[in-house]
């Protein structure tokens, strides 16, 4: 990973998985109790630049859980989830071994296009989304890549329109109307 800041270049000999968390506003008091002015919100949101948001593949909004939700913890144990991930990874390795790769993250743009297994309908869905959501080329590729992984998790060799739409729903949409107007 290479970071360029203030005319200095730092190269970290690693691959990176970025996990980040943020409050939607500076006061962090929650939607009904938020006391931020429009200017506060604007300043806060400006810190998440377009190019940064464009690189974030999966975003989940988490609210305050109700008492009932806490009591009824329904999440499956990690061990179950791990099994599903291992199976999906094995599918990827089987597909990519001949190219010397092991997972979807390693696919370059050309190989991704070749090996995505996207049906014509999926391609059409992605192009329709491209214009509607004003995707960048990077965003277009990232949605395809996440869709490929979703298909793997669903034990599907083909990437279908469903997978594209799910991948799109997981991204942050900077076209949405922000509360700062």
């Amino acid at each position: 990973m290479t970071i360029v800041r203030a005319q200095r270049v730092m190269v970290f000999p690693t691959r990176v998985t970025l996990v980040a968390a943020s409050n939607p506003c500076p006061c962090g008091m929650g939607e009904t109790a938020c006391r931020c002015s429009a200017a506060d919100l604007a300043r806060h949101q400006r810190r998440l630049s377009g190019p940064l948001l464009d690189r974030i593949d999966v975003s989940v909004t988490v609210g305050r859980p109700s008492g009932t939700a806490l009591r009824n913890q329904a999440a499956p144990p990690s061990a179950c989830v791990r099994e599903r991930i291992v199976v999906a990874r094995e599918r990827q390795t089987a597909r990519l071994a001949q190219h010397g790769l092991t997972c979807n993250a390693q696919l370059g743009a050309r190989l991704l296009r070749e090996l995505s297994g996207a049906t014509p309908e999926a391609h059409r869905a992605l192009y329709a989304l491209h214009d509607r959501s004003r995707l960048s080329a990077r965003g277009h590729g990232r949605i395809l890549r996440v869709a490929r992984t979703l298909a793997d998790l669903a034990a599907s060799d083909a990437v279908r329109p469903d997978h594209i739409l799910q991948a799109a729903a997981l991204r942050l949409d900077d076209q949405s109307l922000s509360l700062a107007g």
Binding site: A42, R46, A180
Partner: protein, 369 residues
């Protein structure tokens, strides 16, 4: 366009701009703030005891002011001109000069509707403002606002999104050539391209607090009626409704939850007798009376699968995050698909940060309950 602004009017405008810091005090001191701007030049000059403003006033060069406006791409109409908007003459203190970027003809429409409201509101307020902007534009009614953050911008954006919308109008507190706030730069450009941006102050002027209130009297003055979409009890947008009422123009308001402080101002207006706005049609009825177009503006309502209906209901109740919409991890895939489906149908929208909110798009088919 006809003759340029006359020397006297330009001189008065420069005087007011030079006195802006003093006017802040004067405005608050008087019980009827708009009385300040109806003072004649001599009285205004006297507000500055040092005499500096008086000297600048005497030495004012109209040709330089005209050149400055031209460089900033602004046309200037003064109140001596026949093409000065008639509606503004009803004010006690009509602006001496209107500096205009874009199409001055946009100011001549007698049926314009002002959409105003809080800078900081809720997704509901923004959604309704945008939808009204679109709906009124689709109905051929020009929309006026102040290009502030929040409701103003949402209304302008609704207009800009609508193909063949009548020319929008934005009235600014500072110079018409300056996009304020800076985040409105793109909208500013779009408004100049599609309609006009107006100010009573000279190019390059940075607005003081009183300028924002003063500008609201122009919004009220140029519009046939004013709609407030969302406002707290102390919102600045309520000054616009005060001005509208003084001018005898109708004030309409969009209701909001009684539990929400962001709608306390609009609900207060409704309690005091303002007309109710639930959709574009309500505004059109107030504007055009019995000759308002029939309700068949939007396509007929369509049925929707029960699963999607339940999701929509949950979002309407305020459960907008994925975590709230699916407690069962196994169902997440389908919920993600359904949310995108609803979004593509124009029934929900994503806020910054990914929460889903109910969208109001009167031009998209509604769903049967």
């Amino acid at each position: 366009m006809s003759a340029e602004a006359c020397d006297d009017c330009l001189r008065r405008t420069a005087l007011i701009a030079a006195l802006a810091p003093w006017l802040d005090v004067e405005w608050r001191r008087r019980s009827a703030p708009s009385g300040v701007l109806s003072l004649p030049d001599e009285a205004l000059v006297a507000l500055d005891r040092s005499g500096r403003v008086a000297r600048a006033h005497a030495a004012f060069a109209p040709s330089r002011a005209r050149a400055r406006a031209a460089r900033a791409g602004l046309a200037a109409i003064c109140r001596c001109a026949p093409d000065y908007p008639e509606r503004l003459r009803e004010l006690d203190d009509p602006p001496a000069v209107l500096h205009i970027a874009g199409r001055a003809a946009a100011l001549e429409r007698a049926d314009a509707v002002a959409i105003v409201g809080a800078r900081r509101g809720t997704a509901y307020g923004l959604e309704v403002a945008r939808s009204l902007g679109r709906g009124l534009s689709a109905a051929g009614v020009p929309v006026l606002s102040g290009m502030a953050m929040g409701v103003d911008s949402a209304a302008h954006m609704g207009v800009v999104e609508q193909a063949a919308a009548p020319a929008p109008v934005a009235v600014l507190a500072g110079g018409a050539d300056i996009a304020y706030p800076a985040s409105r730069r793109r909208l500013h450009v779009q408004l100049i391209e599609r309609g006009c941006v107006v100010s009573e102050l000279p190019p390059g002027f940075a607005g003081f607090r009183w300028c924002f209130v003063a500008r609201n009297r122009l919004i009220a003055g140029l519009a046939a009626l004013t709609v407030v979409v969302e406002a707290t009890e102390r919102s600045g947008s309520l000054t616009t409704t005060d001005f509208a009422t003084q001018l005898g123009r109708p004030v309409l308001a969009v209701p909001g939850p009684v539990t929400s402080r962001f709608s306390a101002g609009t609900n207060m207006l409704l309690a005091a007798g303002a007309g109710v706005v639930r959709d574009t049609r309500d505004v059109l009825e107030q504007l055009l009376g019995p000759s308002a177009p029939p309700r068949a503006v939007a396509p007929p309502a369509v049925p929707i699968e029960p699963r999607l209906r339940r999701l929509l209901d949950a979002i309407e109740r305020g459960h907008g995050s994925l975590a709230e919409l699916t407690s069962d991890p196994g169902a997440t895939r389908q919920v993600l698909l359904d949310l995108t489906d609803l979004e593509l149908r124009g029934l929900v929208r994503r806020e910054f940060g990914g929460r889903y909110v109910r969208a109001l798009d009167e031009l998209c088919p509604r769903v049967l309950p």
